[in-house]
Structures are given as C-alpha cells and as structure tokens.
C-alpha cells in the first residue's frame, strides 16, 4: 500500500488542472479555490465572551451584521445567519482552529469541520455579471451587493453562499455533491462569453 495520501477536491473529476490556460480570452474566468479548511461555527452573537473568544482565536472580530464578512491573515469569516458563520482557513489548519475554538469558547456554541463538504469557486472576468445574472436572483448592483458582502441564496438550482471579492469577482461556496452540477451550469452559461480556467 502506498503511503501517499491522495486528496481530491469536489471538482477533482473535472480535471481543471488540465484546462488551466487553455483559453485565454474568456469573458468568464473560473478558479476553484480547492482544499481549504472550512469550519461551521454556531454561537450567540449577543454573548460578549463568545465574540471575544472567537476574535482571540481568529484575530478578527466576528462579523455580526447580517450578510457581512471579515478577513484576517489566516481566516476568512462569512456571516451565514445571526448565529452561524463559515470560517475558511488554510488547508490542514482547520483541526487546530477547531481545537483552539473549543478550548477558548465557553457556554453554548458549536463548531463543525465541514472541509470535505464544500468547495470555493471564484468567478471573475468581463462578463461575470452576466453569468451571475443568469444564475442567481440576488441583485448584483454594487448598491445592493457591495464588496465584502456575503449572501446565502440560490445559484441555478443549487444553494450557495456568494461573497463579493471585488467589483467583478465573486466567491461561491458550493456543496460538494452539487459541485458537478454547478460546474456543468457554469460551462453552459458561459458558452457565449468564453470560459478561461485559472
């Protein structure tokens, strides 16, 4: 038995690595930010101890405003619900972070490692708004969807959390079992613009 441990992201089967760079001119630029550590955190946002505890571990205040996000050197945090957050950390560090959170937090809270459950997709490019308009009913205008905002909504027929990274760059959190569907959808919807994989 080989000792090499094969780790495979949800989109592994799409063989994205072989597609990288094949098309340069696409109006849609697609990137799978594969294999990050994902933690689901539940807790009471009115509990100061909880907030400071999380800040201590993650080095950044927990975003408590609806649909907001925060970022530190080591973690990206997305508001999912008044008592629920997604924490994305470097691959492998999720165990540490989970342990630290458990050690630091008191009272009623929950942490679940969901690193295998989902993947991050980054969509950008000249036509990214067109693609997004095809895929989600959420209003993408900067007034309604400013940079840094994260919304839990639908992406085609899948659920997704969408974070705006810049004016023309979005990050999608997609469930593993839906990732093939989302990939098919993106390929189909980008046909008229061209799709570049990076």
């Amino acid at each position: 038995m080989s000792n090499l441990i094969q780790v495979e992201s949800p989109l592994h089967h799409a063989q994205l690595d072989q597609l990288i760079g094949q098309s340069q001119s696409g109006g849609i630029i697609f990137h799978e930010a594969a294999l990050f550590g994902h933690l689901n955190l539940r807790g009471n946002a009115d509990d100061d101890a909880f907030l400071t505890g999380v800040q201590e571990v993650l080095d950044v205040a927990l975003p408590t405003t609806a649909c907001s996000s925060a970022k530190s050197e080591s973690a990206q945090i997305m508001w999912l619900a008044p008592d629920e957050w997604l924490i994305v950390v470097a691959s492998g560090s999720e165990y540490d972070v989970e342990e630290k959170l458990r050690a630091t937090l008191k009272g009623h809270f929950a942490v679940s490692d969901i690193s295998g459950a989902q993947t991050l997709i980054e969509l950008s490019g000249m036509n990214v708004i067109d693609l997004m308009k095809k895929s989600t009913g959420y209003d993408l205008h900067l007034d309604s969807f400013p940079i840094g905002k994260v919304v839990g909504t639908t992406f085609a027929k899948a659920g997704a959390h969408i974070l705006r990274l810049s004016e023309d760059k979005f990050q999608l959190v997609i469930r593993r079992s839906f990732s093939d569907y989302v990939w098919l959808w993106i390929q189909q919807s980008s046909k008229e613009y061209g799709l570049s994989i990076v």
Binding site: M1, N3, I5, Q6, V7, E8, S9, P10, H12, H13, L35, N40, R42, D83, E84, H108, F109, A110, V111, S112, D113, I114, S115, G116, A117, Q118, D130, K133, K134, T136, G137, Y138, D139, L140, H141, S144, A156, K157, A158, R175, R176, S177, F178, D180, Y181, L184, W185, Q188, S189, K191, E192
Partner: protein, 1007 residues
C-alpha cells in the same frame, strides 16, 4: 417588379439594398431587410394567407401587430427548427425564410374543407358539439377522432430543438413596458434622476405608434425624435434597453417576465448564443406604457382578405413602404383613422371614399382629407363586403347606431380594400395579470387599468390619453414620479417638453357592431373574433340561450380563446353582449386577461434547466470510481447511487447474487456517503433527541451508536437512522438519503419555533463525510490491514464507534450493520473519500472484496427484516405496525413527537396492517413488489385486500425467495397462508412468517 405593392422609398426602416428571398406555401418571393413576413407578403400582393378554423373561409392579413388573428404560420425549414404559429406581423423577414399556412387543405387557395365549412357552417353555431354526437357513447371516440383531425393550427416540431435558451434576473428602480412616445418619455425622465431603468418593447425597434406616424415633433418627423431619445438612453449606463422583448407576464410583487428574442430575426441555426432569453425583472416601480389597440368594426363578411385595420394601413405605408391594395374604402367612427386614408392617398393610390359613421365632423384631419379631394360620406357604414378571396366591393348604407338599424338605401361601391376603425382599446392586459380588474372609462370608451396593490403606474395611450403632446407630457411626468417613488429624484421632470401640434379632433362615436339590413342572425357573417370564427350572431345566440355572464359567452363561443387572446375582438364582443342583454359595457365587464401577453416559447420558459441541468444530479466523492467500474446507477432523490456493479455478460440477477454471496461469505463494500448526517451539539442535544425520536437517548454512552425512528406528529414513521454519541454534548445523527434535507429542517423547525430554550445547534455534515460500509465475515481482516488501531471485537464492539486512521486518513468508524454481517462503516473527510475507498479495495482484494450497490444492500437488509422508510412504509405506518415496539420509549418524560397520536381509536385497532415476512409456497418464485394480499382467494371481485408486498427478493445465500409485506393483523397470523392474485391471472400462496429471515439471533454481526 414582383413587389407590386411596394411604393417609392420613403421609410428608413426598409433597406432596399438587401433583398431577402423567402418562400410562402412553396412559392418564392422577395422582400427587403426591415420587412416583417406580413409586410413582405402584402408587398407581393398575396391576399389569401390561410383559412379560418371552423368555416374554412379564406383569410388575409388584418393588422400589423400583436393583434393579428389570421396570419398564423408555420415557419422554419426542418422538423427540428420549425416553429408553430408565429404571427407574420411580428416575424422579421430573413433570407431563406420558409413559411406556410397552418390551415387549408389541400392548399389555401383551393380548400376542400371550405365546402364542408359552407355546408356545415349553418349547422355549427356555438355549442354545436354539446348538442350532438351523443349517441351512442361508444361512438364518441370515433367522432372525436374525426373532429381532432381538423384541430390545431401549426404542427409541433417532431425532433428536438437545436437551440438553447437562458434566463437572466434583473433588478431596477423603474421598469417601463412599452417604448412608444409615452414609454420613451418616461424612460428618459426616470433615467435622468439616476434611477436604474429598464425599458422593453415587443417590437424590433423602439418608437411604438411613432413608427407609423407623420405627426411632427419639434418640427421633424417623429422618428427623428425617437432616434434622439434612443441616442441619449443608449449612452446612460443606468438604462437597459430591451427591444424585441415582450413582457409576457406581470406577476406579484412587481416581478415581470420578459421574453427577449435574440436570434429569431437573424434566421435559423444562429447558435452562437441562446435563441431567446427570459428576463425576470424585479422592479421597485413599474410603468406600463403599453398604448392602445385600434378596434376593428364588425360588419358583414368583414373577414374577406382586403379588410384591414386603419392603423395597419398607415403602418404598412409609412413603416414598410407597402400599400396593401389599390382602391380603399375607409369606415371610421373617429377622426384619427382619417390618417389611413390620407396616407393611402399620398402614396398615390385611390381612396374611393371615407364612410364616417358619425353624422358630421369638423376635425382637422377631416378637413385635411377634404382638402385632398377625398370623398367623405357621413352617417353611413359599410354593412357588407362582397368578394371571396379579395374584397371586390362594399355595400354602404345610412345607419342609426342607437337603435341598431339601417335607415336608408344600400349603395354598392367597388374597391379592393376596406379599412375600419372603431376607436381604441387601451392595452390593459398586463395591469390585469396580478388580479386587478380594469374599469370602463366612458370618456375614452375603453377599459383602463383599475385599482392595484402593485407599485405600478400607467401613462399614455393605456390611460386613454391619445393626443401626442399629452402622451409625451404624461410620459415625462410619470417617469419622474415613478423614479421618485423608487427613491430617486424629486418627482418632477426638469427638461423642456418636445413641441408638437395635436390636430384638433371631433368626438368619436362608440360603435361596436355595425347594423345590417337583415337581423344579425340572418345577415352575412359578422366576425368578432376571427381566429375562432366567433360572429356577432354567435354571441347573440349564446346570450339568448342563457349564457349571459361575459365569462360564459367566452367559454360558449370561444371569444378570446385564440392565440391573440382576444386583443382584436374582445371589447367588441363584450359590447355586443352588453347590448343584447340591455346592460352597459361597464356592467358586462371584461373577461380576465392573463399571461402570456403574446405566446411564449416553452424553451424560453424552461431556460437552461433542461437535459442534464433539469435537476441537479448529486454525486459522492467516489463517483468516478463507480463509473470506471461499470456501475449501473439508481436515482435516489437527486443522488446518483450505484445500483449494482455488473460484470461483463452478467445478467442483473447474476450480479446481485454474486454481490450478496460476497457479502455473506467474504466481504463487500458499499458507498453509503449519501446518507444524511447532522452534527448536533449543545448541552441539550440528548433531550432534543428524546423529543424527536421515539426511543430514549438519555443513557446512550459516549462512543456508542443507536438506531432511532422519527415520527411526525400524526404518529407515522417518517425517517430513521443511527445516531452516535460523540460526547455528552455532541451527537452525529444519520438520516435516509432522501430524507436528509427534510429531517434537518424538521429539527430546526422544532428548535426554532417550540423549544428555543434548548441549547442545541444542528449543522449538516452530509457532504463532509464519505462513508463506506465494509461488511462481511472478512471485513475485519480488510480493516486490520488499513487501520491503525485494534479493531478486534474486544476493543471495538458492535454498536461502538471509534476514531482511527484508515489508509493514513483520520476516520470515524461505526460498528453498525445493515446487512447482518460484521460491518464497519468508515467515515472520512470527503476529500479523502476516493483515496480511502481505493485503499480499502486494495486491501480487500485478497479477500474477494466486492463493491455492491443499493439493490444488493436492499436484499441483504431485507433478509434481516430491516425496513426501508418509504419502501416498506408509506406515511400510514407506525412503529407498532412495524412490530418495532422496542424502538418506542415507554418511560420518556417528554411526550415525544408522534406519541399522542398513537392513542387515537384508529391506532388501537388490532387489524392494522402490520409488517411481516412472507415465504412463497414456491421457493423459487419471487413475489412481485406491490402485489396485493388476500385471505380468501376464491372471493369475487371486488376483493377484500389485506395488505401488500413491500420488498421481495430471491436470496442467494438462503436459497429461496422471500418478501416483506404489510398484512392486516399480520403479527398474530404468523404461520397462516395468504394469497396473492397476480396481474397475469394466477394466484400464488405464501406463508406469513417473521420478517427476520437470516440469522435471527444476530450472531453474525456480533463477532
């Protein structure tokens, strides 16, 4: 020149440098870029374009827009690209277009059915079908078969659509429907506030009625003003312009559905992008600027080709440089329609006369017509047209509209074209879609939008405002107000209004039905709704028979049922009804306008959600392996699960037997990743489980697993699964594959709404874990090879779970068994799922490890009497019915979900259907699943059924067939015989037995 009706170039919309060839009914014609199919046919002097549905009368083009009832074609060159029923007036011409009529056999000029129509016509009043073909009932199917032969307009494609479709979600402050003067003014004024504006128009370019008008704006042709506005709007990046885009539906909370036709005008096979796109617009404010439709007049033989709407005449002349005839008679109730005669005259063709139904008018247009030397006869009407395939002449007569009579001598005039105008009907369709009823406005003699709860405005023709200067100022004002309501601007339009002189117009006459010297019932047919051959006489007959509600009239006569949805005829029909019942039009009211405004392509409505994207297909991390290893798949919910793994030349049964035996004798492996998994954390997790499961959880120790059953409050089983105690505050619940989302929402429901005081959180971890079941007597041997800890029975007992490394990967292993064999359920983080699976496969090779699918899993569990919720249960089964009293907590403090319902009378019956096993008398015979069970095989039909087979298989390991079933009172009937009358007429016997067939003591899983 073949385009005999094309006049000298004046419209900028027709590009004479691009001649387009097309065929209609097999004959070749030419038109120009900018033509519609209708304008090109008229340019070529084609009169008969189809036959009417019921009477098969020759029909010609009547309108130039969405109201067209006759020119409904079959367009497209192949069995896959053909389009049934597009309207020629709304179809842009492209090179190579092929069109044909949808009715008319053997061809439209000579139509056999017309003979039938003529003979049968008088026998086919409304309600005809209801009154005949009743005897005998058995023959109706034959009659129907014949009737259906004549049904339908166009034909469906018979091959799959080569095109694709898509959708876009749009959001805006102000959505404007209609790009006529009102809409354009509103758009400009709203956009200037910085509001996000979308404006759409169904036509291929913006301008609406201005495209066929010559009334000057700022001293120039109106089209120049349109161009200037368009230039401004195009430059603004807060404006989205959607030409060729029909708003087909106005839905609640200001959602509009728009169908943009992206390639239809370019020709077939334009596959570089979607053919059509549906925009779903959520607008803060909506402005409807949909204008008004001209109403035709209803007179004898008004369907003979050459009878047209007055505006259609102006449109064909001014927009397409086509004069659709030589000698025109115009019948009008108003000044505005005089424009058609003036346009005709100025195009150099003869206006025979204008027949004005009013006693007099001194409006400016009337004066202008006079000054051009056009003959005008007041107080008269065209009461009847002569001609069959083209108008040959008209009978005109003086009329009294009030008492609906002809009051003088009838005079015959020769002509080949009759234009008519009975006034205008505001296009209230969209405003009605959300449930608002239009209201009759006497001063405009039309219905206008009524009260609504939507954030909606209307302006221009839709409000019955027709004078251009007023239309424009209304548009500008409404645009500013709507923007303000959306939070943009001050609500006033700042710019200067364009200058335009409205010709002074005298009052119109409200006339909906032209009298004839004969009674309506005996007069020549006066068509109201052309597409369904609805006549004034038919409507009056319906009224006489008691169909008085306008909705009854519609349903009895088919008024408004056609593909134009009564745009052309509805108001006339309603007015005729009102008159015949002695009511006002306001009292009679309208029928309900509903989506679609104009017909909308199925493909566009489905968008990209077709074929493999119809519904998401969900896959586990090991899917690729399954594919490579030849799995057949089963759909379970949205998941694709391996069903079985056939080897070359194996039948399915052979595969199943091989897989089963491998598990019973050696070791098998199943991908169980699709099971729902919920991470439950918090100090009250245990209590929560006590409340939602039927069995108790208070004593489940850390490191242990337990099977649980969930019931709805009605006491019926709805999910089951194993839950493991991770620590005192943490449990991992598993659910059925199909039930995963539902169970999570169920838990949240109870927590959020009833028991928020319980400290517990739920998170789905279904996708996080890849789960593989390694099962069979050699399972431990396999696991030992890849696992870093001692998995002996001493160290790792049945119903325990442990953390360990498998193939170098952190794993949770559960010693639970759904097969009855020694089993290990290995869970690893899904990114390592495939790796681990492969490692286990490699380790198991020497032990004949065999991948198996859901079908084998079903057989193995059934041998053990384990149920599958949804297969062995159906929403009417309690745990007691399943003989699973052991899973019901007797001493739980909290009255857990479902418990109370078991106390009801029906649950106390001892003849409830209960889960049992069945052994067929013939041990090789597999009972069909779904077979019904009776106690007495000799009873007559209807039989008393006492249960049915829920699961049934041949067991390779036991060597006989067996089944699970529910049987009335079955638990106490073990050993008795039951009978199963099968669909092939035979009846088989089986014996009721325990549902646990294999290893009843459970020894094998415990080793």
């Amino acid at each position: 020149m073949s385009q005999i009706n094309r006049i000298a170039a004046s419209s900028k919309r027709i590009n004479r440098t691009r001649t387009l060839n097309f065929t209609f009914n097999g004959k070749e014609y030419q038109g120009f870029e900018g033509d519609t199919v209708a304008s090109a046919l008229l340019a070529n002097g084609v009169d008969v374009i189809g036959r009417s549905f019921k009477y098969s009368r020759p029909r010609g083009i009547i309108t130039s827009d969405s109201q067209e009832p006759n020119a409904i074609f079959q367009i497209g060159s192949s069995q896959s690209s053909t389009i049934p029923n597009p309207r020629a007036t709304q179809t842009d011409l492209y090179n190579g277009l092929t069109a044909s009529s949808t009715n008319g056999w053997p061809n439209v000029d000579f139509d056999l059915m017309s003979t039938v129509g003529k003979l049968g016509g008088s026998m086919m009043p409304p309600g005809f079908y209801y009154k005949t073909f009743m005897f005998p009932q058995s023959l109706w199917m034959s009659y129907e078969h014949l009737i259906r032969k004549g049904a339908g307009l166009g034909a469906s494609p018979t091959l799959s659509d080569p095109d694709s479709y898509d959708k876009m979600h749009q959001h805006c402050d102000v959505m404007i429907v209609g790009g006529g003067p009102a809409g354009l003014a509103a758009a400009l004024s709203a956009a200037k506030t910085g509001a996000r504006v979308i404006i759409s128009d169904e036509q291929n370019e913006f301008g609406g009625s201005l495209l066929c008008s010559k009334q000057e704006i700022n001293g120039d042709l109106p089209s120049l003003w349109v161009e200037k506005v368009m230039t401004q709007l195009t430059k603004m990046d807060n404006v989205l312009l959607l030409p060729r885009s029909t708003v087909f539906g106005y839905y609640d909370h200001n959602l509009l559905g728009i169908n943009e036709r992206r390639t239809d005008h370019l020709g077939e096979n334009q596959q570089q992008c979607s053919r059509q796109r549906v925009h779903k617009v959520r607008a803060k404010q909506v402005i409807l600027a949909t204008g008004a439709h001209e109403r035709p007049l209803v007179y004898g033989n008004n369907d003979v080709p050459g009878c047209m709407l007055a505006t259609a005449i102006s449109t064909y002349i001014n927009r397409y440089d086509v004069v659709p005839g030589n000698e025109l008679v115009l019948m009008t109730t108003n000044d505005n329609a005089y424009k058609a005669a003036i346009d005709w005259h100025q195009a150099g063709r003869k206006v025979v006369t204008i027949v004005d139904t009013r006693s007099a008018s001194n409006g400016e247009l009337v004066k202008r017509a006079k000054s051009l030397g056009i003959d005008i006869i007041f107080g008269h009407a065209v009461i009847e047209v002569s001609g069959k395939k083209r108008v040959k002449g008209v009978d005109i007569a003086p009329i009294n509209a009030v008492n609906h009579s002809v009051i003088g001598a009838v005079k015959h005039l020769s002509c080949d074209t009759v234009a008519s105008s009975g006034g205008w009907s505001p296009v209230v369709h969209l405003s009605s879609h959300t449930g608002s009823r239009p209201i009759w406005k006497e001063e405009v003699a039309g219905f206008v939008p009524g009260e609504t709860v939507q954030k909606q405005h209307s302006c221009g023709g839709l409000e019955g405002i027709y004078a251009l200067s007023k239309v424009l100022s209304d548009g500008f004002t409404t645009g500013a107000l709507a923007a303000q309501a959306a939070g943009k601007g001050e609500g006033v339009f700042e710019g200067s209004l364009p200058l335009t002189n409205d010709p002074q117009e005298d009052e119109s006459m409200a006339l909906f039905h032209v009298p004839h010297s004969k009674k309506t019932s005996r007069a020549p047919k006066q068509f109201v709704d052309y597409q369904n051959d609805v006549t004034a006489a038919g409507i009056e007959l319906a009224n006489r028979e008691g169909f008085e509600s306008i909705e009854h009239v519609k349903r009895y006569t088919a008024l408004g049922f056609g593909t134009d949805q009564g745009k052309l005829g509805n108001i006339n029909g309603m007015a005729i009804t009102a008159k015949s019942l002695g009511k006002t039009i306001a009292e009679t009211g309208t029928t309900i306008f509903r989506p679609m405004y104009t017909p909308t392509t199925f493909g566009a409505l489905a968008g990209a959600d077709v074929k493999q994207l119809f519904d998401p297909a969900r896959f586990s991390a090991m899917h690729k392996w399954h594919l490579e290893n030849g799995a057949e798949f089963e759909d379970v919910g949205q998941w694709k699960r391996p069903w079985y793994f056939p080897r070359p030349v194996e039948t399915m049964q052979e595969s199943l037997e091989r897989e089963c035996l491998a598990v019973r004798n050696d070791v098998g492996i199943l991908d169980a990743s699709t099971l729902g998994k919920i991470d439950i954390q918090g100090k009250d997790a245990r209590e929560f489980l006590n409340r939602v499961y039927t069995n108790p959880w208070s004593k489940l120790a850390v490191g242990k697993c337990r099977y649980g059953v969930m019931c709805k409050e009605d006491g019926m089983v709805f999910d089951d699964g194993v839950t493991a105690c991770i620590n005192d505050n943490r449990f991992l619940m598993t659910t059925t594959t199909g039930g995963a989302a539902g169970v999570l929402q169920w838990l949240e429901l109870w927590h959020q709404t009833e028991w928020p005081e319980l400290e517990v959180y739920f998170s789905t971890v279904t996708d996080h874990w890849s789960t593989m079941t390694v099962t069979g007597p050699k399972a431990r041997k396999v696991l030992e090879k890849v696992c870093d800890i001692d998995v002996s029975n001493d160290n790792f007992k049945y119903m325990d779970w442990i953390e360990a490394k498998v193939a170098g990967v952190k794993a949770r292993i559960f010693r639970i068994s759904f097969t009855g064999e020694l089993s290990f359920e290995i869970n690893v983080q899904a990114n390592y799922g495939l790796h681990t699976w492969k490692a286990v496969m490699a380790a198991g090779e020497e032990f004949n490890i065999t991948p198996y699918g859901t079908e084998t899993m079903h057989i193995l569990r059934a041998e053990k009497g384990f149920i599958i919720v949804g297969q062995d249960t159906d929403g009417s089964v309690t745990p007691q019915d399943l003989d699973m009293n052991w899973v019901v907590g007797k001493n739980k403090e909290f009255s857990f979900l479902g418990k109370r319902s078991w106390g009801r009378d029906d649950n106390q019956r001892d003849d409830r259907k209960q889960m049992v096993g069945l052994k067929p008398k013939d041990p090789t015979f597999v009972l069909p699943e779904g077979a019904q069970i009776v106690f007495d095989k000799d009873q007559p039909i209807p039989m008393t059924m006492v249960g049915h087979v829920t699961s049934s298989y041949y067991s390779a390991s036991m060597g006989y067939s067996f089944a699970l079933a529910v049987v009335k009172g079955g638990i106490n009937r073990k050993g008795q015989s039951v009978f199963l009358p099968l669909s092939n007429g035979t009846t088989v016997e089986a014996e009721i037995c325990s549902p646990i067939f294999y290893d009843p003591k459970g020894a094998r899983q415990n080793v």
